[in-house]
């Protein structure tokens, strides 16, 4: 990060780089500590930042989901996880089926239009492979719990969820009369500060400046609310590429602990500007996961190190998904906005 190194920022220069912790007590400078090369591999990042029993938030939402990272969590046999999140699709269903998750706080679980979240249903209804405790919030509630976490305040109020059963069955929510006297009832949404947020983006530099093209969902908030952040990305790019479009740096380096280049890291979902969703693939997941036995066979076949997974999908198929996305969206080239400039490392 040549241009910003030693540029006289408040905490620049003097402090030695500290270890991997990005969050220190309030008031502790993070600038210098966070200016380092954070690139690593997926296996190391998951091993390091997702201990058994951790609370985890995932980025994206049926698009730009960190699917490869979740498969790595399953591959490493993590257990006792609490997922603090918004709406979750296949990656959550796979982790629940594999027995990684004990509790979920969030707004919606399923897989897609053409299949249900069969593992989630089995876990909640029949405790297979074990019981999954659910704590429901609305979608706005899920945004607000990360806003409160990012602000480091105990709660944020909303008009949503009052007069319904959502607060009645979620002990974390509280409905109160407005203490300032408007007479309105408000639901207080408590802060979520997960141990780790894992977020897949199109591009990041080695320091962790993460750029999201297209919609952002709650990722900018999750990154700030979490204790640690693992960014997986389609491409690690030079800082100069980030500087060309700073307006899409939705997650700043000072919130990030690890950066992992994971091409096609959202497959079978979409990644805006890079590839379209592989509907026939998650259709097959839906069909197979209908029965427990079928899911276990699916997991045997597909929970692999990511490079083996991509090889199994096949280069032609991945190229077709890229071609599909190119028909509908594009992002500027890595080396500049000139349409003739060559694309990046892919």
């Amino acid at each position: 990060m040549s241009r910003t190194d030693g540029d006289g920022r408040a905490h620049g220069g003097e402090r030695a780089l500290e270890s991997l912790s990005s969050r220190a007590p309030s008031g502790t400078p993070t600038g210098a500590r966070s200016r380092r090369d954070k690139t690593t591999d997926l296996e190391t990042a998951i091993d390091e930042y997702v201990p058994d029993g951790a609370s985890v938030a995932f980025g994206g939402m049926g698009g730009r989901d960190p699917e490869a990272a979740a498969r790595e969590i399953v591959r490493q046999g993590k257990s006792g996880l609490t997922v603090l999140d918004d709406a979750r699709t296949t990656l959550f269903d796979v982790m629940v089926g594999a027995g990684c998750v004990d509790q979920y706080t969030g707004s919606w679980v399923g897989t897609s239009l053409i299949s249900q979240g069969f593992n989630v249903r089995r876990a909640v209804e029949e405790s297979i492979p074990h019981h999954l405790e659910m704590r429901d919030v609305s979608n706005f509630g899920s945004s607000l719990m990360f806003l409160a976490g990012a602000m480091d305040v105990p709660f944020v109020p909303t008009r949503s969820m009052v007069e319904t059963d959502i607060p009645a069955h979620n002990p974390d929510l509280e409905v109160v009369a407005d203490p300032l006297g408007s007479g309105d009832d408000l639901a207080l949404v408590p802060a979520a500060q997960p141990d780790v947020a894992i977020i897949h983006v199109q591009r990041a530099d080695a320091l962790g400046n993460a750029q999201i093209w297209g919609n952002v969902v709650n990722d900018h908030l999750k990154a700030r609310a979490a204790e640690h952040v693992v960014v997986t990305c389609e491409e690690v790019v030079p800082t100069e590429t980030i500087q060309r479009h700073p307006e899409v740096t939705r997650i700043p380096f000072y919130a990030v602990d690890a950066v992992v280049e994971v091409p096609f890291g959202s497959h079978p979902w979409h990644c805006y500007g890079y590839y379209y969703a592989d509907l026939p693939f998650y259709r097959e997941y839906g069909l197979q996961s209908k029965e427990r036995e079928g899911f276990l066979e699916w997991a045997d076949e597909w929970v692999l190190p990511h490079d083996e997974y991509l090889e199994k999908i096949g280069a032609d198929r991945l190229a077709t998904l890229e071609e599909m996305e190119s028909k509908i969206n594009e992002v500027p080239g890595v080396r500049g906005d000139d349409a003739t400039a060559p694309e990046g490392s892919r």
């Binding site: 709406a87 707004s107 609305s138 979608n139 009052v162 059963d165 979409h270 259709r283 509908i328």
Partner: protein, 309 residues
Amino acid sequence: MSLDDPTHTLTGDDVAYPVDVERPHETSEDYSLTELLAVTAAHEIENGELAFIGVGMSLISGVLAKHTRAPDCQLVTESGYVGSRPPGVVQSISDTVLGVDALVATNQLQIFTDNQRGLFDVGIIGAGQIDRYGNTNSTVVTGDEATYERPKVRLPGSGGSNDIMTSCGRSIVMMRQQRRAFTTELDYTTAPGHLDGGDDREEAGFRGDGPSAVITDMAVFRFDDDGEMVLASTHPGVAVADVRDAVQWDLRVADDVVTTPEPTRGEIAVLRTIDPTDTVLRGSDYVYEVEFEEWSERVMEHWKTLQDE
């Protein structure tokens, strides 16, 4: 996005269908009840309105409205897009087809903040159960025995339905008509309709007007001044008695109950262009059988039709 009279919803011969079909303005002869449901819901969106829409049946209705009667409605989706003109079916809430022609690509907090501020005109949601006041359940089916913790059926959960029904200008609920779903007692209230009727919403301080219509594969319901559901129209071939049988309570029926208008040939053609693989419309098992290559070619070919319009 045109600045021409955005409040005028196109009707009859004024609708320009972006597909090559003969006699597009005439009544369709071969539509399914699911297609009629989608078309009827699309008619609830007026031109120029901001329409807050969830995945599945409600989004295909929004996309149909955008490509036919209400080209200047602006679709709003919870994952962060405003103004999209998707050239095909939206498979998930961050489907990248929502990026096409979008005016805004933002985040979920911003979209729901704008919703709570009352900036959106109409929302469309789905639900598993509904009661006579339009309160809905999309969280758990428990019956008398099971519990929230260990339900008979775990449904997906609120998604944005609670937030839309609380704060959006008005809400439309799309459902399959089944007696067990049109219930006297919800197993769980996920999203607020007219609560227990009367002025309940006003007293609760809600900004939105709540549900204004329920659209099913048999009928269309509106709400009276008490906030109670009233049968407004039945679909062609469906009798009022059939609808009564598919509702658990003593259903109120409008004096002037009518037959739901049939879709045009153009509307059905556009719907099938949006969903060439039957992902939402489900007239066939095609989506469960199609191979990858054929699927990708077909999707791209159909996108092109609606992108070239």
